[in-house]
């Protein structure tokens, strides 16, 4: 019992900060909105196709970003977890390096590359692969590219940690039992790395859903996601009621997706969760 209490004290500063600086304001906003406008703005959002489309775009961008990150991040994570190269630490640092540059700077970087007269278009034009510049800037593709770049380290690090905990002998065992590398991956490695996939996807999905800088800069003024809408309602339209309704709906949708995601993988996660082979 006393040990449990001691552990609680260790987390006390964080718990306290979260309660005072996050939960309390959120609750205040909700109560304030409900008292002032009742459910008006919630109803407005959920019945107006303009807003519903913004929600759809946001979810679609976040899902596609998460999917691409999983496909890009997993092989890299596997390599990092299994390599015996002396350069492993250097590679880790290179992967973490983007964290040192702010999202704003990185978005401007992508503008230089993706713009109509950007590096990519000039390169493709020069090669004669295209006749007119590709329209990438200010589309959902630009936003996805920016988000993938921004969030890749989260995905890689989450999965690397879990794969490092999977005994390499399990892969050898699968091979000795007749699995070619692809089957060994699907029958052993993939199911055992589900916990890492869950944590990686949870992180990047949440961060994509709530990203503001990347969609604002790479999507442009007319590209609307939930977070840019909140900003617009607060700072431009001064409609705080609608802004808080959007915030709450965004939070609810994220939670909904995380619950679905966890349920879908619950069976396997329960069996392998946190446990390592002796």
């Amino acid at each position: 019992m006393s040990q449990k209490r001691n552990l609680f004290f260790l987390s006390f500063p964080t718990t306290f900060a979260l309660l005072v600086m996050f939960a309390a304001p959120m609750l205040y906003i909700l109560i304030h909105t409900l008292r002032e406008d009742g459910l008006t703005y919630f109803v407005k959002f959920l019945t107006d196709s303009f807003y519903l489309n913004i929600l759809k775009t946001t979810v679609s961008i976040a899902l596609r970003t998460t999917g691409i990150l999983l496909l890009l991040g997993y092989p890299t994570a596997y390599f990092l977890a299994r390599t015996k190269s002396k350069l492993k630490n250097t590679m880790m640092i290179i992967i973490l390096f983007p964290f040192l540059v702010s999202a704003v700077v990185r978005s401007y970087g992508w503008m230089v590359i993706l713009g109509n007269k950007g590096l990519l278009n000039q390169f493709l034009l020069a090669l004669g692969l295209i006749d007119t510049p590709l329209k990438i800037m200010y589309t959902s593709n630009a936003v996805i590219i920016g988000l993938v770049h921004l969030l890749l380290p989260y995905m890689i690090l989450s999965i690397t940690g879990v794969i490092q905990g999977i005994d390499k002998n399990l892969e050898y065992a699968a091979a000795s039992l007749g699995c070619n590398p692809l089957r060994a991956f699907f029958k052993v490695l993939l199911p055992l790395s589900i916990p890492g996939i869950i944590s990686g996807c949870t992180l990047v999905f949440t961060l994509s859903m709530t990203a503001y800088v990347t969609p604002r800069l790479l999507g442009g003024a007319n590209f609307r996601m939930m977070s840019t809408m909140v900003f617009q309602e607060v700072n431009v339209n001064f409609n705080w009621g609608l802004a808080s309704a959007i915030s709450y709906i965004l939070m609810f949708v994220i939670l909904l997706f995380l619950v679905i995601f966890n349920f879908a993988t619950a069976g396997i996660n329960q069996r392998v969760g946190g446990q390592k082979n002796a």
Binding site: D167, N169, L170, Y172, A173, A174, A175, S176, L177, G178, C179, N180, P181, R183, A184, K187, V188, P191, L192, I268, R271, V272, Q275, K276, N277, A278
Partner: protein, 354 residues
Amino acid sequence: MAMLQLDRLTKRFGDFTAVKDLSLTVADGEMVALLGESGCGKTTTLRMIAGFSEADEGVVSIDGRVMNSIPAFKRNVGIFFQNYALFPHLTAYDNIAFGLKVQRMDRQVIHTKVAQIIRMVKLEGLEKRYPRELSGGQQQRVALARALVMEPSVMLLDEPLSNLDAKLRVEMQVEIKRIQRVLGITTIIVTHDQEEAISLADRVVVMDKGRIVQVGKPEEVFENPASPFIADFMGFVNFFSGTVESVTEETTGIRCGEHLIEQSSALCADMAAGDSVKLAIRPEKILVSDCGGSSNPLFGRIESTTYKGNITRVEISGVFPEPLFVHSSDFHGSPGDSIGVCLPPEKIRVFKTK
């Protein structure tokens, strides 16, 4: 079943040669132990047989078929891992059925085969448990069954008993031997434990620094090690140096300090007067006080005694420059006492030193 042949296998890691020119033939149904200290190349050899690691030189063949370019998953070599390497997300049943399912075998056939092997390794009733819900011994049986159910042409066991407590070790030792006899599978055991090698194998292969240093029946290797290194490994414990003084048809006289040890010439092949030699004897072969008419009585002083239950370990100084360790099952004496010991010549092994 199958015959396994290793022909001049060599494996290097950078500048380090892990296995050097290793040649060995394992007969159909034979059980061979690769015995050596960690880093002697035994595990590397095992990995080359399994196909997890590629030989730089030499050939691995099973029944005359060269295996070098055949990937692990096509070799049909069963392997038992030291840490069992059970799939934690699968039940005991699914672990055992894993390989058969990969082969897309008929479900009914799989069921029959798995049930049969489960009976053989005595795991009835535990089929639905996950590995973490099984004891160490049970996990080991699952690992064994998982490999055996594939009817491998060659079975590899990596330190099969090292993770078990003393009681379970004896039990599993008997089990492994029984199962191997019943199935008649060609088997290689890798171990650093001489007792494990000697009690399980038909033939013991001692390795050192990537090479084979002795091959023989367990009793041969145990009784007549080929070098002081192997003798040390086999538990000889007591080593002392000497010089050959006289050689006749029957006896060879060896001078060790002030003592002259008379050894049967049959046990001192190729030795001439003036050769320097190393002598070795097991602590349990030295007789204390009552020498029972045996020759070579020597006197020394008890340095320390350690009671170990079934035996007492006695350290004696003053006989040779090196301390002498004796295991006695019925010892009465205390440090400081003087003591007479006898070294039965037929129990002494003599090695020529270069």
